[in-house]
Assembly symmetry: D2
Homo-oligomer: 341 residues x 4
């Protein structure tokens, strides 16, 4: 059955598999100390415009969020997030598992508002009673957000400024970062992210890799003994090379951006087709996830032919569903989908 | 440079890469709910002789130990382990990170003694003061051990009996399980392990996979909502298929045992060569890891030509080093090594 | 300086001190196994109408909340609370410290709405994706709430019914329970609480004791090895007798209710005086805490003569402040306060 | 029945109760910000010869160890302790509960050997593989030890020197510190402890208080936001004054030392009587705990008339038991005991 359920329904981009094959018999030391990780890290530092960034490779998004957040926070601090942030809603309490509270702010189509952040922090630190409260210790945002929306450079700069005023690191969850960087009309580059944030990760799992995320500490906050922390959280891969080879490939000849641009183009075609057929969108998403409001009985009929994600109930008779594109989406499959719609 | 540093210096067994390639464009749902995981689990249940075992795939050994132990223990319980157990010494406190104490017993060439275990448990539970102590809640053993040694069926049965007397689950860390099953003169089969233990994992990372471990709950202890717990610990792989495909391949046509047998044969040749050349062994290992005592200046010379693992200081002038073989070890490389020795 | 800052500004009710004196030289075993704890527990069971309740004494409210919640939840579960719940706002993340998320619902003058609770639980358990989310594992309410308001018997019964429908324990934080039980027009008795909740604590610290809270497990949920869990959380008092003597005194000749009734009478006089002088109340509180809106410059003047609690900013020119009464509040001090107002 | 079971079988020294009575109606702010805590802290600083030490009052020993250790360690560090250390054996895993491993060294009559400590630390930090291990982050000792033995000044200085060489804080658990300071022939003063250690606590619970321990950070290591950490661990007492009044009393007119000296004198008389009657001691203890080897049938007979502590099995026919003296031990009760022996 056809699937537009997510951007991780297939294996990996063919060039990644090919490179794994080519390098298979090279003998390397373990735990990320190999030549492929070194090369990938160097290419990422270069793409970020951060020659002295610390880059490390982890296997999945929740793991990455858990380890980075736990490593950047002091034990009595929590992480500020929009209430819709992935860490607050869909990671089974992985942050709380490490002892930290997620301090939720309202969201606006998945985004955090810099002014609301500033007001919250100002209220907290000016209140004499805050010794009995969880200290905000860092700020977490996603780009694109869980709703497929993206920040503008100005918005990102405004959040960054608030964080720096309060001496809090800003961490960006880039599980789908490629799709934000390749979105039409975005003015945010990878270098902007590296400059405005203190830590972020470049998602591989959802952008063409078998698995893997590249964590980048681009600012002044660098957890000491990060490898030991990763090990302690159960996240250290013995054959770290498998991550190195994948990210080295993704950051060679712009593959990461090419994959992302393809998915965005496919999403654009889908969006156009949906509009032409008069479908209602739940919100305007410039990235690879499209949220559409379907009448329930039609949705049930459609599910017999194509897989997509249930997002949320819209009203008694309607449901919000999500269609996602990726490197693997073909025009042919798109046609089959639009025929069904 | 030639390397006998570990059994995870290369990528994956070629059949695994090939199968990843062949299945790459199949669309699957995520998080281990795909057809490849289902097929692999079924083959593992069959190999274990446990038609109703619960099988789940994780990415690494420390992660697996952390999650299984934390899921089987009650919050006020600890895990009993030989003091040399991997969880007690080389996992950066990943068990304590989840709030549990490792209760260490003496080791005998890496193995736990069933009688000492019995005495410890008897002493604990007969002592009226134990409400102020950490309750032993499960028993952890490794097979092969960190020293490459293996349990006999009788020894394993004796430990199992003690555990069942005290109603404690027995968990076996099988990071290198294949090498124990393929060891010369072993009388322990995978079915024995499934019968005598309550939980164990079949190591993939060190036995030919790119990465991955297959957790098997073969006994009466089944953590509820295991997927949620895995997510909470940051261990849930989005493209679970990557694990499914690998273990499906390893458990097709006995590949897992063939890989292991090859490594054991290579270790046997190495052992023979070492013996012929008069090297001293630190202990007798029937598996793929060989521990040899080298004179320090010779060791330093040798390091210029071949990579191996430093194990521990033996005395002022000697060091214990480890040579490991794997699916990837060739007779040619073995010859090069023995020429150097 | 006169203080209406809280209900714990003095030491202990004189009868408690006297009883500590009288029993001082009695030799007892430690950790709550003494005769005073046994007697106090029996009196509490009797007052609750629960002959088989499990009663244990702890030293403070945050500690009690942390230990009870961590003991009742499974590791992958969180606790549902109104967003204003003490555990969510003013306990420095003590619940998250033990690995659990606080799942916040809206509040209504500090109270949780049974219908909103039902909707939340229904949405959670009917959503197929909940394996990636924190499971609601219990419900936490406060009575009186952080705003001094109280539940009616019907409201409490409605919340209890929802909890039982979903097989979730209901836990009531009774840091100031006496003041709710003694409130004018309340129809909720201690026996009602014991019947409708599964666990609760009867606050001592804020109702006349030097310190101490009596935890009561009145329902079917009984954490095993509770003493070990208390020890593990650092909450086990060596001289448990000190808690036993205090609660034995509080539950002899109705002292707990007499103390509470006195505070309520004093709060009533204060309320009347405030009303007569035309003060605005932030909300209607029937208990010992009164929340008043003061003009800022007047508030600053008043602070020179009497201590009270800053509650929150009301608007640019006004602040909400709290006055609290207790067993130790005298009519004389009340007069001095009303003269100042 | 007569009891020599522990040094916390009675309430509090009469002067403490009297002072609680006298100060009962003074109104104070909460959480340790009151005048009594301030006065007690000042007296302790003075007694320690540390005018700038940070002093805070907690309610019990396990709580204090948990909070201090968790506050001084980085998340990837563990605490080094003799295997018999209270935190390693009798605190229900309270340290592991906060995520940290106890790194156990051998004990010598309860004491840690500075040379063994040095060797362990040297081995750890010189081993290139230590990134996969728990980092030793501080050293924990008890004085007197769990066996009633005490360090000499030289021994303490040697341990302190090792710690400072490796830049690790030294923390001394002084649950029974008074009995070490008052021991015959000791050359260790409170000022020595403050100088040689970085943190320690002066035990109140076992030295005449109702409950309470005074934590002193005398060195360069000062956890930031300690009050918030205490709250987060559930250890913050609302009526902190109760701790302040007690320690203010204990450190007025040398009461703490007088109490301790009395207990030591009583222990001396008991020791003499035991020796005269030919009893065998398990080890030589210069403090208030005496460990005696009793023949089992005699022990059972004795238990009918007097309470003492079971310590451990000595051999098939003998048991080690403990008798403890305190401020409350009278010569009359001692006579009754010696008559029974």
């Amino acid at each position: 059955m056809l699937s537009f359920e997510s951007d991780y329904t297939e294996g990996a981009h063919p060039q990644i598999l090919q490179r794994l094959q080519e390098t298979n018999m090279v003998q390397t030391p373990g735990y990320g100390t190999d030549e492929f990780c070194a090369s990938a890290a160097e290419k990422i530092r270069s793409a970020c415009g951060c020659p002295d960034a610390y880059v490390f490779f982890l296997t999945g998004g929740t793991q990455t969020n858990q380890i980075v957040i736990d490593s950047l926070l002091k034990p009595y601090e929590g992480v500020v997030s929009a209430e819709t942030g992935h860490i607050n809603a869909h990671e089974a309490g992985a942050v709380e598992f490490t002892g930290h509270k997620v301090l939720a702010l309202p969201h606006h189509c998945g985004k955090m508002d810099p002014k609301e952040l500033d007001e919250y922090l100002n209220r907290f630190f000016s209140d004499g009673n805050h010794e009995h409260m969880v200290f905000p210790g860092m700020v977490y945002i996603t780009h694109p957000t869980e709703y497929g929306t993206i920040y503008t450079r100005d918005e990102l700069a405004a959040i960054s400024k608030v964080c720096r005023n309060y001496h809090l690191p800003l961490y960006l969850d880039g599980a789908r970062m490629g799709y934000a960087l390749a979105a039409e009309n975005t003015d945010v580059t990878l270098k902007d992210i590296a400059e405005l944030c203190d830590a972020f990760y470049i998602g591989g799992t959802k952008v063409g890799a078998l698995f893997g995320e590249a964590v980048v500490f681009s600012g002044e906050y660098r957890p000491d003994h990060f490898v030991t922390r990763v090990k302690q959280h159960g996240g250290l891969l013995a054959k770290g090379r498998v991550l190195g080879v994948q990210f080295d490939t993704l950051f060679t000849d712009d593959l990461y951006m090419k994959i992302s641009a393809h998915a965005i183009r496919m999403a654009g075609l889908l969006k156009q087709a949906l509009k032409e057929k008069g479908y209602r969108f739940f919100l305007e998403s410039p990235t690879n996830q499209q949220f559409v409001i379907l009448e329930n009985s039609f949705m049930e009929e459609l599910q017999k032919h194509v897989r997509f994600s249930f997002w949320e109930k819209y009203d008694e008779n309607h449901t919000v569903v999500r269609f996602a594109t990726s490197w693997a989406t073909t025009e042919e499959n798109l046609s089959r989908l639009t025929d069904l719609l």
